[in-house]
């Protein structure tokens, strides 16, 4: 066999062997990976809802039990109407999570889809029953620089969000922005409820995430308005019965 024919043959065999190995690994490990991603998402929904104490590591079973008991997954249309049955598959439907306690709605969680400096950021922002006070924030996926933009997933940054307001006292939507530096030093007193402390060395991440949160929240504004006007009792009646 000539030299180049041997090279070609060797390359072909190597490619087949490598592809087979990778395919086997990828399909063999996929169930584990998908389960990890799902549990991680559920964990972050619970973290945003303030249902997991910070610093406590819950096992898979605990996360799933808590999630099943306290979180209700819904789809709503852009006008804030709850979609049911076949309607749930409609493309304009938005996912929404309700925080429940003893059958009562205690708040709701808005998924945040944002641009980041290095890739998309996915997070959850939980809002109280009053439709304007933030209950918590948690990042589930990001590609920001560890130690800089990556700090968005850390406890100290998450703690910043609790108690901030997404709307003014009169009920006008303003969203919550990430300040450049400390809120106490950079933001005038009346605006402070709408700002959280920034991360030094991560100005761009803060800027992108601020825009992403404003966009996501404004899409859910019809839902927030219902909560703000205290029309929840009526809205709750339109909730489909909980699956057993």
């Amino acid at each position: 066999m000539s030299g180049s024919a041997k090279s070609l043959l060797f390359t072909a065999v190597l490619c087949v062997v490598c592809s087979l190995l990778l395919t086997a690994a990828s399909s063999g490990l996929r169930p584990y990976q998908e389960r990890n991603i799902l549990i991680d998402r559920h964990r972050n929904v619970l973290l945003a809802a303030g249902l997991i104490e910070p610093g406590r590591k819950l096992g898979e079973a605990e996360v799933e039990a808590l999630y099943a008991g306290r979180i209700r997954e819904l789809r709503v249309d852009p006008a804030g109407r709850i979609l049911e049955g076949a309607e749930r598959a409609r493309p304009e439907g938005l996912p929404l999570y309700l925080i429940q306690e003893e059958g009562e709605v205690r708040g709701y969680i808005v998924p945040i889809d944002s641009r980041g400096l290095w890739g998309p950021i996915q997070a959850y922002l939980a809002i109280d029953r009053d439709g304007q006070t933030v209950k918590g924030f948690a990042v589930t996926r990001h590609a920001e620089t560890p130690g800089l933009g990556g700090e968005i997933e850390k406890e100290w940054f998450r703690r910043n969000w609790v108690g901030k307001k997404i709307a003014t006292r009169e009920g006008t939507f303003v969203s919550v922005a990430i300040a450049k530096g400390k809120v106490e030093e950079e933001v005038p007193e009346p605006k402070r409820p709408h700002y959280v402390d920034g991360i030094s060395g991560a100005t761009m991440t803060g800027r992108f995430l601020t825009a992403g949160i404003r966009d996501s929240l404004s899409r859910y504004e019809p839902v927030s308005i219902r909560f703000r006007r205290n029309q929840i009792a009526e809205w709750e009646k339109t909730l489909p019965p909980a699956r057993p």
Binding site: G3, F10, A25, S26, Q33, N36, P146, L148, S200, G201
Partner: protein
């Protein structure tokens, strides 16, 4: 040390494997002597945990690729040997990444792109090209392992000082007492940034060269 205990050690010291290992760990350490793999050493050393998992992944890939290339060394056509080695390394790196995502999900999230970037780490291709291609599998595997550990030793050293001085923590647990902060101690923000890593690695290179010269 008693002579009985010292003698088998002396025998070990004469073997080729021992000499190669010491070379990889110390006299020709991939980072501090050959200045290879600097990019990842800068990126993942903000925290010890990420540095440790990165070290394990790189050590695994280097040892595995050296072993595989050494096993194939008589079959690999010379003219396409680099392509073949890169294909083997890339396969192992993707495997490592998939395994981390399946079984160490939290750390894999923190390491993000850096596991994938092991492919471009000069240490891996360097050992495979310079050593594994003309040594038997056992020696090649040991050489890959030793170079991985050599890389890890500097990585963990840098991460130790960066996490301690930059964030006051070790493995994510706060170790600098609260009283220090009240007395005016401030974490060094520079060490969290990439320039801090450059300075730290520079100090390591300096230290190891000075220590070697003394001998």
């Amino acid at each position: 040390m008693t002579t009985a205990a010292a003698r088998p050690w002396a025998a070990v010291r004469r073997t080729a494997a021992y000499k190669e290992t010491v070379k990889a760990l110390w006299r020709a350490n991939p980072i501090s002597k050959q200045i290879l793999g600097i990019c990842s050493a800068l990126a993942v050393t903000v925290q010890l945990e990420t540095a440790l998992v990165m070290s394990l992944a790189l050590t695994g890939v280097t040892a595995g690729s050296s072993l595989a290339v050494s096993l194939l060394r008589k079959a690999i056509p010379r003219n396409i040997r680099i392509i073949v080695q890169v294909a083997v390394i890339a396969t192992l790196v993707i495997l490592a990444d998939e395994l981390l995502k399946a079984f160490l999900f939290d750390v894999s999230k923190q390491l993000s792109v850096f596991v994938g970037l092991i492919i471009t780490n000069c240490i891996v291709l360097g050992r495979s090209e310079a050593y594994a291609l003309n040594h038997p599998p056992g020696q090649a595997f040991l050489d890959g392992l030793a170079n991985g550990v050599g890389y890890s030793s500097v990585l963990l050293g840098v991460a130790f000082f960066r996490e301690l001085l930059g964030s006051g923590k070790l493995f994510g647990a706060t170790v600098i007492p609260e009283a220090f902060y009240r007395a005016g101690y401030v974490n060094n923000g520079l060490l969290v940034l990439a320039p801090g890593a450059f300075i730290m690695i520079g100090l390591f290179v300096w230290l190891e060269h000075t220590l070697l010269e003394r001998k």
